[in-house]
């Protein structure tokens, strides 16, 4: 005979998530009742407002940490605070990109090229459901980083993924490719979440618990042998490694990055990475830490392959979005070394790297969305030749962000790489250190090759023109540039803050 335990929810600490969810619901209501004309602007306003309120609500919780926020489902601690902060800031920068009206399909239901679609475009209709979907995804991400039991993790994973599957298919131009991206993302995402669920099942079987703390206790004190545990860790890792696009679970990333609307790609590439790595950090640092000797070789192998593969394949890309996708794969490899390190400096470095990389990624994709000709965005690299001549500012900004990805000093990328490789070394992992440095040298090759292409090649005949950035896109680009520069030149305060704040409540 068990008694019912009345659940206690700490609404103050859940506030950021709840605010975002509420914003999304209001967005849905706007879709239902507001007239077509005013939807776009009111949705944008609502989304920005929601994110700011969520950010304020998050800041209000500063310093209060608890693992009993909603029974055992979520844990708010320093690391969670920083990760949620990163996600909200990145989302705030990225959501402005959704505002440019000609990025999303006018009538997703109409066949591409049909009369219906033309009429809808002429009537200046656009899918404003993008905004509530984005907010749902953000809520999922926020929850993903603080989940401390497996089922909340699973639900959060789905809450963040489903909207992204949908949004990937809503591009205005090249709609077949966009829908294909959505299909691929969805099928492979569902495939990997089936693995994830299977892993959860085995972890539950192994530990008789679904909370991270319970699993950790079972690892240290359990009498079972490790088979169920290892199956569980492996399959849960498959799901998480899929989200962070680590080799060999990466193959969706290039196709989806290329096919999805660029604004969505920007948001997805940056924020999802923070959320997924945040969750990975928590589960590996809190739940699986006791079994480090068994999973470290596995993750190390994945990290090494990911770094080398991402860097090598990026070289032969001819499409800028695919190139950035492979670069993000390589960066996933670098970030994995922070998880493998399993020490405090690894945690600090990974959080810093995630934030720096996320911000720079948003900026880079924002710039990609500007380079276009009469028929829409141009992501073919050959046609970027000589961009420096025609739009020096845009080209310089892009070059700066590429240098960040390459990890050239005085950019945030350098500080992040340095911190993360140092942490890896501290944990005694020389293989990671050497491979990391080597593959970032390879990676620098293609980043700088693009810079050379942009600045030192003559423009091709059917070259591209750069759209005059709208106010929103301009804010996004400038914000991302400023943060990247500040984090590169003057990272000490942020690093300090992260070092002081980041910890996991076990």
């Amino acid at each position: 005979m068990s008694t019912f335990i009345t659940p206690v929810l700490n609404y103050a600490m859940l506030a950021p998530i709840l605010v975002v969810l509420a914003g999304a619901l209001i967005g849905v209501l706007i879709e239902a009742f507001a007239p077509q004309r005013s939807r776009s602007s009111s949705q944008l306003l609502l989304a920005v407002f929601t994110l700011i309120v969520a950010l304020l609500a998050l800041i209000r919780t500063r310093g209060t940490y608890s693992n009993k926020v909603a029974m055992n489902s979520v844990t708010f601690d320093g690391a969670g605070y920083l990760l949620q902060m990163s996600i909200l800031i990145i989302a705030l920068i990225a959501i402005l990109l959704l505002a440019d009206s000609d990025k999303f399909a006018a009538a997703p239901t109409a066949a591409p090229g049909s009369d219906e679609e033309r009429q809808a475009q002429a009537a200046n209709i656009r899918v404003t459901e993008i905004y509530p979907l984005t907010l749902f995804a953000i809520a999922g991400m926020l929850l993903f980083t603080v989940s401390s039991d497996l089922i909340t993790l699973f639900v959060a994973l789905e809450v963040l993924s489903l909207p992204l599957y949908l949004m990937a298919g809503l591009a205005r131009r090249r709609r077949l490719a966009s829908q294909e991206a959505a299909l691929k993302y969805f099928l492979l995402g569902a495939f990997s979440s089936a693995f994830f669920l299977f892993g959860i099942a085995y972890l539950y079987g192994y530990s008789d618990s679904i909370t991270f703390a319970g699993i950790a206790a079972a690892i240290t004190g359990g009498a079972a042998n490790d088979v169920f545990l290892l199956i569980g860790i492996s399959f849960v890792s498959v799901g998480l490694l899929f989200k962070v696009s680590a080799v060999p679970f990466h193959s969706w990333a290039p196709d989806v990055y290329q096919g999805a609307p660029t604004a969505v790609t920007a948001f997805m590439a940056a924020a999802t990475k923070v959320a997924a790595f945040g969750a990975m950090l928590r589960i590996f640092y809190v739940a699986f830490a006791g079994d480090v000797w068994q999973w470290r070789p596995m993750l190390t192998a994945v990290a090494l392959v990911t770094m080398v593969f991402g860097s090598l394949v990026a070289i032969s890309q001819r499409d800028v979005k695919r190139m950035l996708a492979y670069s993000s794969i390589a960066h996933a490899g670098f970030l994995l070394s922070g998880i493998i390190a399993l020490n405090k400096s690894g945690l600090d470095a990974t959080i810093f790297y995630l934030f720096a990389y996320g911000v720079a990624t948003v900026g880079a994709f924002a710039i990609v969305s500007l380079v276009s000709d009469s028929s829409g965005e141009v992501s073919d690299l050959n046609r970027w030749a000589g961009l420096g001549k025609r739009s020096p500012w845009i080209a310089t900004s892009f070059a700066f962000l590429l240098l960040t990805f390459a990890g050239i000093p005085l950019t945030s990328g350098f500080v992040g790489k340095f911190a993360i490789f140092s942490a890896a070394y501290e944990s005694g992992n020389t293989a990671i250190l050497i491979t990391g440095v080597l593959s970032s040298a390879i990676a620098a090759f293609f980043y700088i090759r693009i810079i050379v292409l942009i600045f030192f090649k003559d423009p091709v005949e059917d070259g591209t023109s750069v759209v005059i950035p709208s106010m929103y896109t301009r804010i996004t680009i400038v914000a991302s540039l400023i943060i990247t520069l500040v984090l590169g030149v003057f990272p000490a305060p942020v690093l300090d803050y992260i070092t002081q704040t980041a910890f996991f409540l076990r």
Partner: protein, 629 residues
């Protein structure tokens, strides 16, 4: 007097100039070049003030440090963004800002017809700032920032005239080689951090005793790789010649006086590492010696005046590297040669620019000839630089090269004899190819194309050349007067070990002068007293004229000496151009190729992606199977 808190302005002035001019845009077109020059000059004046302040302090108090802020702090590891000005860096500061300012002045006139002159000056300022940061950083990490900065600025400058079609491949080659170098530096820094827990020069110096020789050898080799990449040393030398596609002042600034010497700076700065790692030190000497001969031989075969000078630069830096590899005995001489070379080679590049200016941008020396009368000032300044580089007393190069040859001979044992001979042979060849350049350009009959009207360059251009020429004449004497430079730098280096003097200094001097005489005579025999031959078959008029003047003696000469010599020369040039190029392209292609192969996994079919995921999971399961065995 100036204090350490003003160190930042050394870098800050030119950096501000660069940022300001880039931000101002076209509005600054009218006065941007003057502003940039003023910024660079300001930096030079400040450097001078620091220099005088430093001379007034006692030996122990000379190095000063300015900490700007804590740059990276992760756990116990802390890197400050800090600047260090000591006896070594002040030499570089003066060279960079001084020669840099002269080149700014020169460029005002040289680039006056270019509509993007302001941008060019912004880049020049950026370069000066980065280079100053490179030599002022107090840790390897800060040095690395400057290191990458000069790389970036040099790209922007070399590519400034990007209409040249050859540039694309040239930049690629330069890029690959420089990345190999940068990787070396990165790994060296990582090694330092990993084994010593610090990356500052002071910290590493103290930690040298704590770590084992293998570690230091590895670090030394990585530093050598870095130096070879930046300073165009064997086997990473091939990019330098191609980089000549940029505007001439750029070549003078980057490829003669400053950036290419960064490798020498790095090795001299890391003297404590190399002193403790004899193997790495030996490798330094070998690399230097090979490059010395290699560059000199290439110099004999080039008809492009800038490429001939570039090959010469390669060879002269080889001298410096050899000196730096000789340990405490040679560090000061490496720096001395670096400084004198900065003067005369920059002057000669500017002279070459002046010649090109007067010759409608013609670079082929076979189309020059007899310019002495048309360009008397250029001739005079170039000539002084020439006398300095081949080592005619009492010009600058004589002193510095003489010292290096003597140190090489005296480094003891078979090594000493081999190195001495190599440096001596280098001196012969240097005299030969520089005389060739001189004669082909300024002497003999005019071989100009139609429509070329050579004329002297304006004062704004020849003035810097004249100033550099004065440096070429006097610098060597000043540095060696009472061993001034050696004493100045000596607190930084370990005590010179005792060694057997193989031969007295006077004998070395005689040998060196003999070498010069041999080289000059040979070149004069071949080029001055006979009409210039041509290997340019397309140039019909020149070929006809040569055929008319050819004497039967040449045939014998050719068969006995020239052919084998030519074959050797061509062979080495071929190695430079094909093998090394091929290797670079091969590595590039291999990387790109493996990328392309791996890319094929991305077939576009969801099902094959799913199969990949399934296989990944299978591998994980197999891993579990093994682990739980």
């Amino acid at each position: 007097m100036v204090t350490s808190s003003s160190l930042v302005y050394l870098i800050g002035l030119p950096l501000f100039g660069a940022v300001f001019l880039l931000l101002m845009g076209r509005k600054a077109d009218k006065w941007g070049h003057l502003f940039a020059t003023a910024m660079s000059a300001g930096s030079f004046v400040l450097g001078l003030l620091h220099f005088f302040a430093m001379t007034n302090r006692s030996e122990e108090e000379r190095p000063i440090t300015q900490t700007l802020f804590t740059w990276i702090e992760a756990g116990d590891f802390k890197v400050d963004a800090a600047l260090l000005l000591d006896q070594l860096s002040i030499c570089f500061v003066l060279l960079i800002s001084g020669v840099g300012t002269l080149i700014h002045i020169y460029s005002i006139s040289y680039m006056s017809h270019d509509e993007n002159r302001r941008r060019f000056f912004a880049y020049l300022n950026l370069f000066v700032a980065s280079m100053l940061l490179l030599v002022l950083g107090n840790s390897y990490l800060n040095l690395y920032v400057g290191w990458e900065g000069v790389g970036l600025a040099s790209y922007l400058l070399i590519g400034f005239w990007n209409q040249k079609p050859a540039y694309a491949t040239a930049s690629k080659k330069a890029f690959v080689m420089n990345r190999v170098g940068d990787m070396g530096l990165t790994i060296a820094i990582m090694i330092a951090f990993a084994t010593m827990g610090t990356v500052s020069f002071d910290g590493v110096k103290e930690a040298v005793d704590r770590v084992g020789t293998p570690t230091l050898t590895a670090m030394g080799i990585m530093l050598l790789v870095a130096a070879a990449g930046k300073s165009a040393q064997f086997p990473l030398q091939a990019w330098l010649g191609d980089a000549m596609a940029g505007p001439t002042p750029v070549s003078a600034l980057i490829h003669a006086a400053t950036m290419v010497t960064a490798g020498v700076y790095l090795i001299v700065r890391s003297n404590f590492v190399f002193d403790a790692a004899p193997t790495a030190q030996l490798l330094v000497v070998i690399v230097g010696a090979i490059t010395l001969i290699f560059g000199a031989i290439i110099g004999m075969a080039k008809d492009d005046i800038k490429k001939a000078l570039a090959a010469s630069t390669m060879s002269q830096i080889g001298y410096m590297i050899v000196a730096a590899g000789l340990g405490p005995a040679g560090y000061a001489f490496a720096i001395m040669h670096l400084l004198t070379h900065g003067f005369f080679k920059a002057g000669m590049f500017l002279g070459a620019g002046s010649v090109m200016h007067g010759m409608n941008d013609e670079v082929n020396m076979r189309k020059y000839g007899g310019l002495r009368k048309m360009m008397p000032i250029t001739f005079a300044t170039f000539g002084l630089g020439y006398l300095a580089i081949i080592g005619v007393p009492p010009f600058a190069g004589f002193y510095s090269k003489d010292e290096i040859i003597a140190t090489a001979f005296n480094s003891g044992g078979a090594q000493g004899i081999i190195l001495g001979s190599v440096t001596l042979l280098g001196a012969v060849i240097t005299a030969f190819y520089m005389t060739r350049v001189m004669v082909l350009t300024f002497s003999g009959k005019p071989r100009w194309d139609d429509g070329v009207h050579p004329h002297e360059s304006p004062a704004l251009m020849w003035l810097p050349m004249a100033l550099l020429a004065i440096g070429s004449v006097t610098a060597g004497y000043l540095f060696t007067q009472g061993e001034a430079l050696v004493h100045w730098l000596s607190p930084l280096f370990a005590k010179k070990g005792e060694y057997d003097e193989l031969m007295p200094h006077s004998v070395v001097t005689v040998l060196a002068i003999t070498a010069v005489i041999i080289g000059v005579t040979a070149a004069l025999m071949k080029y001055q007293f006979k009409s210039v031959d041509s290997v340019v078959p397309t140039d019909v008029s020149l070929a006809t004229r040569l055929a008319r003047n050819d004497l039967g003696q040449d045939v014998v000469n050719e068969a006995l000496f020239m052919r084998p010599g030519q074959a050797l020369t061509e062979g080495i040039v071929a190695i430079d151009e094909r093998v090394v190029d091929g290797a670079v392209r091969g590595i590039g292609a291999m990387t790109v190729g493996s990328g392309a192969t791996l890319r094929r996994t991305q077939s576009g079919y969801v099902r094959s992606y799913a199969a990949l995921i399934l296989l990944g999971a299978l591998v994980l399961l197999a891993g579990i199977w093994v682990v739980t065995q």
